[in-house]
Each structure stands twice: as C-alpha cells, then as structure tokens.
Symmetry: C2
Subunit: 105 residues, 2 copies
C-alpha cells in the first residue's frame, strides 16, 4: 500500500495537469493529505462510493498516461544516472550543472 | 514555416502516444513525409478540407499538451545543460554516463 501511494504520488505529480480540478482535489486529499474516503465524501457532500469511483477512475487514467508517455519510468532512469554522475564528479562547476539538470521544471 | 515544422515534429514526437491512429497517420504524412493536403486526401479518399481540419485540430491538441506538460520546453533546457557538460567533461566514463542520459527512452 505504501508502494502504491508512492507510485500514485509520482504519477499525480507528472500528469496532474491532464486531470480535471475535481479529480485533482480528490487525489490531493486522498493521497497527499491522507484524508479517508469518508472524510472526502463529507467535505464534498457526495456518497463515499462516488468518491471511491472517481479516485479509481483517476488512478486508471494516471496509469494509462504512464503507459503512453512513461514520464515516471524515464524519471527513475535519469535519477539513477544523475546519482552516479554526482558520486564521480568533484568539480564544483560541473556539480552545479548537474544540480541544474535536477531542477528543470 | 520551417520553424513551425520543426516544433510540430518535436511535439509530435513527445505526444504522439496520446493521439488517435488517424491523427498520427495524417501528421506523419504531412509533417514527416512532406505529403501535401491534396495527396493525403487522395490517399484516404476524403476531402482536402477534412484532412486540413484534422491536422489543425491535432496541432492544437499537441500545443495544449505542451502547455500542460511542457515536455518539449524541458527537453530544450536539458539539452542545453547536457551540451555544457559535454564541453567541460573529458573523462571517458563520465561522458558515457552523459551519453546514457541523452539516450533515455
């Protein structure tokens, strides 16, 4: 479950711009703020089932975007190579370039 | 026009997985293979206007994905930093890591 939460947090981070604002709100409360389905359903005055269905659908959408664009997968590969570079590079200027690479946004 | 073609080629490269197969086919013929609208309309037995509308809509979709995900923008930033790294690094092992970074796919 922790593994799934981590994955969903990453996928949400990469693809949230493609979601509707309602999908974003539910996902933020559920995955980032750790609200329960019951708490979200009270907050939005909808049934617990409606919240659950919306979140499941959103999870499937995020996985489908990842299937197609693989941004999380590429991020992991890049992070691993950058880590190796950081371990081998001592030059300050080069390390600063590596830092810039990590901070592209 | 050349600038637009280059941009569309990149956006197509980044987001083609989010298009339908018809959209992909038209875009490939028009932008990659340099077919004219008339040639595509003959090939698919549809009106020139239909091909034009489809391509325009697809271009707008690609720009909308770029607005949201900015993969092309990030790619340009990353390419610029990697170029600087390549100019300053002489160590073979480090250069091989940089090469791996460029080839992530």
């Amino acid at each position: 479950m922790i593994e799934k939460t981590t994955r969903m947090n990453y996928l949400f981070d990469f693809y949230q711009a493609l979601l509707t604002s309602k999908q974003r709100n539910y996902m933020e409360l559920y995955y980032l703020e750790d609200y329960s389905l019951g708490e979200i359903s009270e907050l939005y005055q909808v049934s617990r089932q409606a919240v659950y269905d919306n979140i499941k659908r959103t999870e499937n959408m995020l996985e489908s975007y990842e299937d197609k664009l693989r941004l999380y997968d590429k991020y992991l590969k890049q992070a691993s190579i950058i880590k190796q570079l950081e371990m081998e590079i001592t030059d300050k200027n080069l390390l600063s370039l590596i830092q810039q690479l990590k901070e592209i946004d």
